[in-house]
């Protein structure tokens, strides 16, 4: 059990959680057509931060990826008193590829560039920027990294080692990653369509998010990270499980830790990447877990797939859903899937919400599930 003391989302839809949430609730999408992102010159649909977004930040030799983390953490830590320099405060980072964007433009790979590609080194630099004296924890578990980082932070707090965890994640849209997903034929031909019958792939996105977790409850009402679990399909390194059983296993364990049942869940913030396989697998997992009738939404149509940041960005959106009493729509949703159709909203719905389930799955067969509750 850990408490959410503050949070931030830095996205193309806004530099704060509130701004991004409002935009997503209004059905807006940051996904747009871009030229010049792929070496072939082909157009691609992706969600990018606006040019010059980091202008006001101190550069100090930080990379765009590191600046995203800094800006996000800065905003979150401005909302509450956090003993950033205390030994009882740990930074936990989530990212899949860190500074990989630096490779796109590099003429050659110097030892200095290799050093900059180190995820742990980026984490150290960012934590140090905020005066942290504790070696930061870095979780890199493909697309469940954000969810995994929150779970790791919750565990670290529960172990008594720390009182506060600053959990931050980010990933950039890079040629490196775009070309890879293109080679996987995983990119959508247009804006992606999560959980839709005619879904055809993902849009990549870039964003950063931060959640500050505390072991002690804050003053006033708070949202709790009440439970979580991670599992592995043990099936294929890039294709998801055909049955969804292992994601269902994680969902079940998360609920058990939160001392709740499927019936208690008020909404599901799904991974919903809009690939044919992922969305089908998730629908199966939801059915196995007994949450298939609960309102489901995917943020991937609004913000794209933000990889290592996704689990954190979408957890913040889930927290806000709970505190704002608002079920989010799924941008890009078109027609229900033929099998295991899920209740997907096209517009925001007010509702009294107390329990949210966040799911994620990633390359390497990993799955993650988190339960957020509003007291």
């Amino acid at each position: 059990m850990a408490y959410i003391a503050a949070h931030n989302i830095l996205s193309p839809l806004g530099a704060t959680s509130a701004a991004t949430f409002a935009a997503v609730a209004a059905g807006r999408s940051a996904v747009a057509e871009h030229a010049g992102l792929l070496p072939s010159g082909e157009l691609v649909w992706a969600a990018r931060l606006p040019a010059g977004w980091a202008q006001a930040l101190p550069a100090d030799g930080f990379s765009p990826f590191e600046l995203m983390l800094i800006a996000s953490i800065q905003d979150a830590t401005s909302q509450v008193e956090v003993a950033l320099t205390s030994e009882r405060t740990v930074f936990v980072f989530a990212t899949t590829k860190g500074n990989i964007g630096l490779l796109d433009e590099a003429a050659e790979v110097s030892p200095a560039l290799r050093g900059r590609l180190s995820l742990a080194a980026s984490a150290r630099a960012v934590a140090r920027y905020f005066g942290s004296v504790v070696v930061p924890v870095v979780v890199s578990n493909a697309c469940i990294s954000g969810v995994a980082a929150l779970l790791v932070a919750q565990r670290l707090l529960a172990s008594g080692q720390y009182d506060t965890a600053v959990v931050a994640g980010a990933d950039t849209v890079s040629q490196f990653v775009l070309t890879g997903f293109q080679a996987f034929q995983a990119l959508s031909a247009g804006p992606c369509k999560p959980f839709s019958a005619d879904r055809d792939g993902i849009n990549l996105g870039e964003a950063a998010a931060t959640i500050i977790l505390t072991a002690a409850p804050p003053d006033g009402p708070a949202v709790r990270l009440a439970g979580g679990a991670i599992s592995n399909d043990a099936n294929h390194i890039s294709g998801p499980s055909r049955t969804g059983a292992e994601l269902a296993q994680a969902i079940g364990q998360a609920l058990a830790e939160a001392e709740l049942t499927a019936a208690d869940v008020d909404f599901v913030s799904a991974h919903g990447t809009a690939t044919p396989y992922n969305d089908a697998m998730e629908a199966k997992a939801f059915a196995l877990s007994g949450v298939q009738q609960k309102p489901v939404h995917s943020a991937k149509g609004a913000l794209g797939h933000t990889l290592g940041a996704a689990g954190l960005v979408e957890s913040v959106l889930s927290v806000l859903s709970l505190t704002e009493g608002c079920l989010l729509p799924t941008a890009g949703y078109s027609q229900p899937m033929q099998l295991e159709a899920l209740p997907i909203a096209r517009t925001a719905q007010p509702a009294a919400l107390r329990v949210g389930l966040k799911t994620a799955s990633g390359f390497g067969g990993c799955n993650g599930a988190l339960i957020f509750t509003r007291l």
């Binding site: 995820l119 742990a120 790791v152 080692q161 890879g180 390359f363 990993c366």
Partner: protein
């Protein structure tokens, strides 16, 4: 729990040798990692053609886990979901990242390489091979920090999330490679308690 946590077995791979519980079980000819890995794989005498498709980091992890888990069956009901994998690594998938980038610039993006440009894929390969579906995590640290890992894993046991865990360190970049895996679980017979000091001792030996 009735029995305290013990280090049940360890496997170390470096400099062309494989050791299990401190004993050499395989020594390859002085050669590239790729040649060493192929020779070590053939010495296992197993049928697993997917091995040859793996990148070097995944091959390293596969070999270490194969020796570590020899004789263990995680497909027994319940055990698969109660087995954890908690590993640490420094250079991520940089070795493959650079190969991917080179191929991308010279020819076309390779999906077979791209899938390995995530450091946790090695964990995925181990889970597939050994049928492990429990908690699996990869931590990025600049050097191996046994204290943090031991604390984290011990906490998983204390919270009764797992009955067994594969822990350790794995890193590979070019011809520099090191795998240090251990199996930890409750045991009344095994001798070595699961402590930071014991893990460190095994790691540096």
């Amino acid at each position: 729990m009735t029995h305290s946590l013990k280090l049940l077995r360890s496997c170390s791979i470096q400099n062309g040798t494989i050791q299990v519980d401190g004993t050499n079980v395989f020594a390859g000819p002085p050669a590239t990692f790729a040649a060493f890995a192929t020779a070590a794989f053939r010495a296992l005498g197993i049928e697993y053609p997917k091995f040859h498709k793996m990148d070097n980091l995944a091959k390293l992890g596969f070999l270490a886990a194969e020796h570590l888990l020899a004789g263990q069956d995680f497909r027994a009901p319940g055990l698969a979901a109660r087995t954890g994998v908690v590993l640490a690594n420094a250079t991520s998938s940089l070795d493959t990242d650079l190969r991917y980038e080179t191929q991308l610039r010279q020819r076309l993006a390779s999906p077979a390489l791209f899938v390995y440009t995530l450091p946790n894929i090695v964990v995925g390969e181990l889970c597939i091979r050994h049928g492990i579906t429990g908690e699996n995590l990869l931590f990025m640290t600049e050097r191996y920090e046994p204290a943090a890992q031991v604390a984290y894993v011990a906490n998983l046991f204390a919270k009764q999330r797992i009955d067994r865990c594969l822990g350790g360190w794995i890193d590979l970049l070019g011809q520099e490679y090191r795998a240090f895996f251990y199996l930890v679980g409750p045991s009344s017979e095994a001798a070595l308690p699961y402590t930071t000091a014991n893990v460190e001792t095994l790691f540096i030996s």
